[in-house]
């Protein structure tokens, strides 16, 4: 089981150049849980995630890991505790699956140390968890979108971090693969205790797979908590501007958002 960490952001303000995207966000990431950041396009979900994963330097406010400011921690040891899978990483042409997964071991290697048995084990384990061992020697170019995404997540797993940030890990995937990826991430969370924080587009899958929801609106954190408490028709109207009915998901019992558009609305509802 992974160790428990206190990962905290206080009065976080962040953005690009002169444009402030994240405004005064304070939050605590629940350890050993799956947290999902939801919100409309352009509300700053990705920016918040990147700032937490220290890819973007905050304009003001602090992010601390176990009480120590992120900026003060040396970057390589920090990369053994928090990992980040961005939305569109670059695939070097001709790279094999095993090679790509192996690149996740970088933070564990010293300048002169080279490759160790432990690196091999971590790579093999990551490929096993993501069920891509059979493709180990295949070039990435030959894989389908869903398989590719599993390879990227395996790379993040090989980094063996306690906290894993993922920016829309299911985008561009068919529904089958979306569910598959989210199941695998849940495996990881349940079996290894990895704290997962991700941005997801699909509010219903978010409601089903999240233990904790952070709802973002125009750069501000407007609600957080368990999906059943947070996801209501009022919240969806507030942050997405969408009329909807929230019912119980017949499979999981989590909230299910049923949108109401201008067409196809039955008389009785």
């Amino acid at each position: 089981m992974k160790p428990t960490h206190l990962f905290q952001a206080e009065q976080l303000v962040a953005g690009y150049e002169n444009k402030t995207v994240i405004q005064d966000v304070s939050l605590v990431i629940p350890s050993h849980k799956i947290s999902v950041i939801i919100g409309a396009n352009g509300c700053g979900k990705s920016t918040l995630l990147k700032t937490l994963a220290r890819l973007i330097k905050p304009t003001s406010g602090t992010i601390t890991l176990d009480g120590k400011p992120l900026g003060k921690l040396p970057s390589k040891p920090l990369a053994r505790v928090i990992g980040m899978l961005p939305q569109s990483p670059i695939v070097p042409e001709g790279i094999s699956v095993a090679d790509l997964v192996g690149r996740g071991r970088f933070p564990h290697q010293s300048l002169f140390g080279g490759w160790t048995k432990k690196d091999n084990e971590a790579v093999a384990e990551a490929m096993r968890i993501m069920d891509i061992t059979e493709f180990a020697n295949h070039p990435i170019d030959e894989l389908s979108g869903g398989q590719r995404q599993r390879v990227w997540i395996a790379m993040a797993l090989a980094q063996e971090t306690d906290i894993l940030f993922l920016d829309e890990p299911t985008t561009f995937l068919d529904i089958t693969y979306q569910v598959e990826i989210l199941d695998l991430l849940t495996d990881l969370n349940r079996k290894h205790g990895t704290t997962i924080v991700m941005v997801l587009h699909d509010i219903n899958l978010s409601a089903r797979y999240a233990d904790h929801i952070f709802a973002l609106h125009q750069g501000k954190l407007v609600a957080e908590g368990e999906p059943s408490e947070v996801i209501t028709s009022t919240l969806v109207k507030d942050i997405f501007g969408l009329d909807c009915t929230v019912i119980e998901d017949p499979i999981s019992g989590s909230p299910l958002v049923v949108p109401r558009g201008r067409y196809h609305v039955n008389q009785e509802v």
Binding site: E17, P77, P86, F106
Partner: protein
């Protein structure tokens, strides 16, 4: 499943052996072939019997420094190419991408025109200074604005600077025919004028550059997956780019200073290796050194044979050999991007 293959490319041992054999053949060819063909006994005399004073033996001795120099230059250009491509994440980046060659040229031209400089040793420092200042300048421009030194900004800054500097070179040279006379020998690129003192000056740059390249290879591997992945793995992308680019400039600048601008080696040697071994820079960097040494030495030998009884400068030959091979690679769409 044997996961140890994530460490070493499948065919690495085979490729290494083939490359080393080729390297040996190159060295032998470079010692033996030329406007005067050396026979084997003369070769042995020249290499191992310093007391024998035949003409053939002295030809061999003269070719030793030239061979060593071309091996070193080729290796430096190969590694420099691999570094520049990794830093800019552009598979077509040449050491000249940061304006290094033109910067060196401008300083040498200025030296000839305004400071009456004429010896190779003075060229070295001028060319190095020119290369370094230009690279820092380009890097500075490329780092401005959002996102720091992104590949596209570096390339644009490099191209713009190169264009501006080369027009300056022409502007200084045109009204001064004596400058043009001196400069054109340097500008073509040749390893023929190699001296042991020149090689001694070169060695520290080679060692520092290659060591830096090898040590930064794992971090550059992370950078190949994008700046965000690299940052997530604890790589300080700005520092890494600066260090790796400086090493690349050092290697290319020192070579350019001593041999003049030699094109295509940095591009060709890395592409061949990437095609065979895949994109892992821990292997691409050292193997590019070997392939660069092979290609440059072969080109030099070809230049001697084609130009006999004189010789064709290696810079001309590399362009002639390199361009068609690169076009061929591009047509077969086997140019692997990063």
């Amino acid at each position: 499943m044997n996961s140890s293959n994530s460490l070493i490319p499948r065919n690495f041992t085979k490729v290494l052996i083939i490359c080393l054999v080729l390297l040996g053949i190159c060295v032998l060819a470079s010692l033996v072939l030329g406007s005067r063909l050396v026979r084997i006994p003369e070769l042995i005399d020249g290499l191992f019997h310093p007391d024998v004073d035949s003409y053939g033996a002295s030809v061999v001795r003269k070719r030793i420094s030239r061979t060593v120099f071309s091996l070193f230059c080729g290796a430096a250009l190969g590694v420099s190419g691999a570094l520049m491509q990794a830093v800019t994440r552009n598979p077509l980046a040449d050491p000249s991408i940061l304006g290094v060659n033109t910067g060196a040229s401008l300083f040498v031209v200025c030296g000839i025109a305004f400071l009456n400089i004429s010896t190779a040793n003075q060229y070295i420092w001028l060319a190095l200074a020119g290369a370094a200042i230009t690279a820092v300048f380009v890097f500075g421009i490329g780092s401005m604005g959002r996102g720091g030194a992104t590949p596209i900004k570096l390339i644009l800054a490099g191209a713009a600077t190169s264009a501006a500097l080369s027009s300056l070179v022409t502007a200084i040279m045109i009204p001064r025919s004596y400058v043009m006379d001196q400069f054109r020998f340097w500008q073509v690129g040749s390893v023929g004028s190699a001296t042991w003192s020149g090689i001694a000056t070169f060695i520290p740059f080679l060692v520092i550059g290659v060591l830096t390249a090898i040590l930064t290879a794992p971090a550059l591997n992370a950078l190949a997956l994008g700046d965000e992945v690299a940052a997530g793995q604890g790589v300080r992308t700005g520092t890494l780019r600066l260090v790796a680019a400086l090493a690349g400039v050092l290697l290319c600048g020192a070579t350019t200073a001593l041999a003049g601008p030699i094109g295509f080696i940095g591009l060709l040697s890395t592409h061949v290796i990437r095609l065979i071994l895949g994109p892992d820079l821990r292997f691409v960097i050292p193997m590019s050194a070997i392939s660069g040494a092979i290609i440059l030495t072969i080109s030099d030998v070809c230049g001697r044979l084609i130009g006999s009884p004189g010789e064709l400068e290696v810079g001309v030959v590399t362009a002639f050999i390199g361009a068609p091979i690169l076009i061929l690679l591009a047509i077969k769409s086997k140019v692997r991007s990063l």
